[in-house]
Each structure stands twice: as structure tokens, then as C-alpha cells.
């Protein structure tokens, strides 16, 4: 197991793990009573931003019972009940949550199931119930840094399912749906208390990240204190809830065009015009235009297309894999997304 592992979801077996009994041997009207220590562990994990799900080899019709039992329905996301192999259930859970197999932990009292998962999904962290209890308060089940944003992950997952359900049942166009969501992008200068989240954004974003360079905490702290740097952060909300702090930029204030050393946005907000709105706001805020440092990677093509959309081209190439992009003065930015309102907040 690598020390850099992070766990985003713990997948629980039911019979013999969450409860002592075998559910299909019950009355068919209700499920066995969960063990209090398991419910406590699930709640402790949720406070750390770690989701819980279910992979149980049992009659799939028990899913309806699980979903109608509030203490279980509210704790388990994307539960998988069926006769198939658990490694397949784990793959479905990872796909449904949009996370990697290597961010799953799997808890089962049966050695056979643990061995099946270890063999066919070796990326998954496999634990017996005793091992989980013993390791609950150490990494990777206890993340080294806990930001408000990672803590809110469980709530955000639920809001996201509401959003998906609303989008699926919405009658109009995609743009009409986006308007209906009432999205607001709140921007302000970063405070010292935002430091952990800034680091998290620089480290964990790839698709919407302009250079992939991660500043040290010390460098960031001095940027926040320096009048030569402008470090804006952005939060996104809509009628379903809050996405949290989803974007940031490290901008060098200059007399000429301000220079954006890093633009980083969470891929949670991709496809909603947020990157364009944030970049437009930066262009307006500067007054003298902006230049952006850009290191092309296999992941950040979307951001390069965005810069091209804003009329930016290479004005300088300090290294073979690093370019400075800029737009000639007076280049009009593309229209702002009509469905998104920008709100400037005091820092």
C-alpha cells in the first residue's frame, strides 16, 4: 500500500459485517439491526468527507428495503446488492461516484470475498471489520489535512444526485436547465484561512489547471501577504446547494498586463462555463489585460481551448514546455455565460 493513498469511499459488506444476521433469512419486511459500532464508524468517516457504500451478495430485491430504512438510506450512497462478484460491484460504485478504484476501501468479514477483491481489484484497500476498527484513526482513513471542502464531500454527493435527477427530468435545453439552476459564482481575495484549500486545489486539479505547478505553503503565505500578488478564490452555489471553493488563481500584479501564474478550477464544475466566467472577471479586474502561464499537458486541453476562445496566443516561450499566452490590448472577451451571476465579496 502506498503512503500517498487517499480513501474517498468505504464499501461495506452487509451480512456479518454491518449486522450479525443474514438479511434474506429474515421476515422480508425489515432488515436486521445494524451494529452500533458500525453506524458510529460510518458517521465518523462522513465527518472526514469519506462516503460509505454497500457491496452485498444477496437478493437484489432487498435494495428497496434498504432504501426505505432511513438510518441506512441516509448513510449509504450507490449501494450494490446482487449475486455477482464484489469486485464488479466496486467498479460500479467507483464509476457511479466518479472516483478511482484506488480511492475505495472494502470491508468484509468473509475471507473469500476479501481475497476475490484483492485478486480482481488490487487497487482497492481490503480490510476485515477488525482491521477497519483498528485503523479507523490513522491514514488513509484519517486524512492528513481536513479542509471544510473535503468535510462537505458527503453532502455534496447528495446535492449532485439531486442535480443529476433534475437534469434528467428537465424538459428544456441544456442552457435552459443551466439557467434554471440559478448558479452564482462568488469571488473574493483569498484569506490566510484559505491556505489549505488553495494548496488542495493546486495539487488535485488537472483538467482545469494551467501549469500543474504546486507552490509550497510558505510561498503561498508570502503571496497572500504581498501587495504584488493578487490571489482570488471562487465559490460556486446553485439552487441545489454549494459546490464549495472550486477555483483560485495566483496573479502577479504588474503595470503592464497582470500575469496569471496559476489558474486552477475543480473538474466538479466543468461544462458549466465557470472557467470562462472566472477568466473574464480576471481580465476585467486587471484593467491592463492579462497574460497566462501555460504548460500543455495531456489533461488540460480544455483550458487551452478556453484561452484561445479568449483570443490569447503565445507571446513568449520561456521553456520548451512553458508558454506565456496573451491577448492584444482591446481584444473583446467572449460573451459571459448568460446563466451565471458573478458576485464580488469583500475579502
Amino acid at each position: 500500500m502506498s503512503s500517498g493513498r487517499s480513501v474517498k469511499c468505504v464499501v461495506w459488506d452487509l451480512d456479518g459485517t454491518v449486522w450479525d444476521e443474514v438479511a434474506i433469512e429474515g421476515d422480508g419486511q425489515s432488515l436486521p439491526t445494524p451494529r452500533p459500532d458500525v453506524l458510529r464508524a460510518i458517521d465518523v468517516l462522513a465527518e472526514r468527507g469519506i462516503l460509505s457504500s454497500v457491496a452485498s451478495r444477496t437478493d437484489p430485491s432487498l435494495l428497496a428495503l434498504l432504501k426505505s430504512t432511513p438510518e441506512l438510506a441516509e448513510r449509504f450512497v450507490a449501494p450494490q446488492l446482487g449475486w455477482g462478484d464484489k469486485s464488479d460491484s466496486l467498479r460500479r460504485i467507483a464509476a457511479e461516484l466518479g472516483i478511482g478504484l484506488d480511492t475505495l476501501a472494502f470491508v468484509d468479514d468473509t475471507a473469500f470475498e476479501r481475497a476475490e477483491v484483492a485478486a480482481r481489484a488490487p487497487e482497492v484497500l481490503v480490510l476485515s471489520p477488525e482491521e477497519l476498527a483498528a485503523r479507523l484513526d490513522e491514514p488513509p482513513l484519517l486524512p492528513p489535512v481536513l479542509t471544510d471542502d473535503s468535510r462537505a464531500r458527503v453532502r455534496r454527493y447528495r446535492e449532485d444526485s439531486d442535480r443529476k435527477a433534475a437534469a434528467a427530468s428537465f424538459g428544456g435545453s441544456r442552457e435552459d436547465f443551466l439557467r434554471d439552476c440559478d448558479m452564482r459564482l462568488a469571488v473574493r481575495e483569498a484569506r490566510p484561512s484559505d491556505l489549505d484549500r488553495l494548496l488542495e486545489l493546486a495539487t488535485r486539479t488537472h483538467r482545469l489547471n494551467s501549469t500543474g505547478e504546486v507552490p509550497s505553503a510558505e510561498e503561498l503565505r508570502s503571496m497572500l501577504a504581498s501587495p504584488e500578488w493578487f490571489v482570488p478564490v471562487a465559490r460556486l452555489t446553485d439552487r441545489f446547494g454549494s459546490y464549495g471553493m472550486i477555483g483560485a488563481a495566483l496573479v502577479e500584479r504588474r503595470d503592464a498586463a497582470w500575469r496569471v501564474h496559476l489558474l486552477a478550477l475543480s473538474c466538479r464544475v466543468a461544462g458549466r462555463g465557470v472557467a470562462l466566467a472566472f477568466l473574464r472577471w480576471l481580465m476585467e479586474r486587471s484593467g491592463a489585460g492579462i497574460e497566462v502561464l501555460m504548460r500543455p499537458t495531456s489533461a488540460n486541453l480544455e483550458l487551452r481551448v478556453l484561452f484561445r476562445q479568449c483570443g490569447m496566443r503565445v507571446v513568449e516561450q520561456p521553456a520548451h514546455d512553458l508558454a506565456v499566452l496573451g491577448a492584444p490590448a482591446g481584444t473583446p472577451p467572449p460573451d459571459a455565460p448568460a446563466w451565471l451571476t458573478i458576485v464580488e465579496e469583500d475579502s
Binding site: G273, L276, L301, R304, V305, L306, Q309, R313, V314, A323
Partner: protein, 83 residues
């Protein structure tokens, strides 16, 4: 089918528009302009499908992505760089 016709199909697919509509646009129609309205996400998808279809990696060969200027500039770029 000509390169230009295929490129127009890929554009239509990327923006979720009817193929006949994109086929009828003038060659100098700007991809980021109101008629096509290419978003950054759709643009990245378009370059992926161009690479798959023609083996031309616009992202790797054109740091400025000038090929995304218009319909004709994209199909011209593909024509020039096709193996």
C-alpha cells in the same frame, strides 16, 4: 468524403447540432462565433475526435490552436498534416 465534410460532421457532433446545419455554413464561419458557439469543453472533444479520425494531433502541433479559428482553418490544418 472530403476532409472538410468529415470535419463538419465532427464539429456537429461536438456541439450537439444537426449535421445538415453545419454542412451549410460558409467555410469562414468562426468556431467560437455565435453560429457554431464552440465551448471550451466541446472544443477539447472536437480535437480528440479529429485525432482519432485523422491521426492529426492539433493540440501537439499547434500551441496557439489557431486551427480552431474557423471551419476552413480546421479542415485546412487537417489536410496539411494528414499522413
Amino acid at each position: 468524403m472530403s476532409t472538410d465534410a468529415v470535419v463538419r460532421e465532427l464539429i456537429a457532433e461536438a456541439i450537439g447540432q444537426d449535421e445538415a446545419v453545419v454542412a451549410a455554413l460558409p467555410g469562414d464561419t468562426r468556431l467560437f462565433g455565435p453560429e457554431v458557439g464552440l465551448s471550451s469543453l466541446a472544443g477539447a472533444r472536437l480535437l480528440d475526435s479529429v485525432r482519432e479520425r485523422f491521426g492529426v494531433d492539433v493540440a501537439a502541433e499547434d500551441l496557439n490552436l489557431d486551427a480552431l479559428e474557423s471551419i476552413a482553418s480546421l479542415s485546412g490544418f487537417v489536410d496539411q498534416h494528414q499522413r
